[in-house]
């Protein structure tokens, strides 16, 4: 079992799924009937990346709760790594979203709910790192970061809800292909990309957590030798 979920195995699996998804998206799934046309294909990456980012933040949320119940550094490491990956994926969401926007509607930016929410999410989790940076003492840092990771994750759906339903009816919510039902072939391509992206996240989390643990152990040794 350990072998199956080790980082290299996960990366391999992720790679397989993602490449398959890519092939399916371009060769198998039909070109979108609406005005977006070919550019719609970026959706097969844009949406999975978005959902994976949220999964990452969810992992951070759970790890944070676990840390508060039992202050084991491994939970803090998991939380920290997940937030970092989530932030990385969030930036990718923004970039792919903007590319899609430009290609489909000739606009680099639109204040539409998903893009706006991810923008705020980027700021939110960047604040997480600023917080970690200014707390000097380590156990406090982990505790405060955990509290923030919990509060931040709760705020994500609330923010999405607010951006979608609140503003003064100015910007109509852009219906993406994902909202209306998907045709069979599109659905398959989408699910495979989704699986691939999730496996990628799992692989990255594993690799990063291992690297973080190694770094902590090295730091420990350094202090022991030094003082």
């Amino acid at each position: 079992m350990k072998k199956l979920t080790s980082a290299p195995a996960l990366f391999a699996a992720a790679g397989a799924f993602l490449v398959t998804g890519l092939l399916l998206a371009f060769l198998y799934a039909p070109v979108d009937a609406s005005s977006m046309g070919f550019s719609q294909k970026i959706f097969y990456y844009h949406a999975p990346i978005a959902e994976t980012a949220l999964v990452a933040f969810g992992i951070a949320f759970v790890a944070a709760i676990l840390y508060l119940r039992d202050p084991d550094p491994k939970w803090d490491r998991l939380s920290y790594v997940s937030v970092r990956l989530g932030l990385l994926f969030s930036v990718m969401v923004m970039i792919t979203g903007m590319i899609w926007g430009k290609a489909a509607w000739d606009a680099w930016w639109a204040w539409e709910p998903r893009l706006t929410t991810f923008l705020i999410v980027c700021f939110l989790y960047t604040a997480y790192f600023v917080l970690r940076q200014v707390v000097e003492e380590e156990s406090r840092r982990a505790t405060y970061a955990a509290v923030f990771a919990i509060v931040a994750f709760i705020d994500v759906p609330i923010t999405f809800f607010a951006t979608r339903y609140m503003p003064e009816g100015l910007h109509p919510v852009v219906i993406r292909a994902g909202d209306s039902g998907m045709e069979g072939s599109m659905f398959l391509s989408f699910m495979i990309s989704m699986a691939g992206m999730t496996l990628l996240l799992a692989a990255l989390v594993r690799a990063d957590v291992a690297a973080a643990r190694l770094k902590d152990e090295i730091d420990d040794l350094k202090t022991r030798i030094g003082g």
Binding site: E137, E138, T223
Partner: protein, 247 residues
Amino acid sequence: MDASGRDLSDAPLEIEVDGLRKTFGRREVLRGLSFSLERGGFLVMFGPNGAGKTTTLRVLATLLTAGRGSVRVAGHDVREDPMPVRRAVGLISHSPMLYLDLTAYENLRFYADMYGLEDREERITELLERLELSHRRYDVVRTFSKGMRQRLAIARAILHRPRVLLLDEPHSGLDPRAVDILDGLLAEIREEHTFVMVTHHIEKGLELATRLMIVDGGKIVWEHGAGVARETFNAVYREHVQEGSVL
């Protein structure tokens, strides 16, 4: 036996510390401290700065969580059951923990309410008198001299009649009159109270203690009962404390 000759051997244990460890980040400040103190005892901790004495007091006061090891004060575990410990403990430390923009009365009233004192008004009046601050009752603490602030801090610390008093260098910063008041107070409540004092004031420490301790590098390096002469102590200190610290 304590300094006045009372036999304390049957008294119940008021403080029990076993294998106390505390790390701040990567720095291990307390490395397995173990000691106990019976009710009515007076423990004095000496040691160079940074030895972990203040940290120990703060753990006893529940201001810091113990890293590892068990700590029991007044019959309760500080980690599982901190509330009763807080009710039983009073702390006098470097800073007076007083609100500068409130009057002496308002400060004491605040703490009296926080501790749920039944006889709030009488107790406040009594303590202000005892500490010779009655005439400044309605003055804002910002206008107090350092000595007066420390005196008010003493009132704050014993307001709720704690069984255990933790004193972190209580004589520092006090004018001679305040020192007398404090010493008088300590003598008055000596019976039925347990004390842990950190100090650099050797004479006072040796005089008041029923138990002596030198802490260095997060560990107890020397322990003894009462009745140690000054010269003996100096020698012991030099022997056990490596760093060139000031006595």
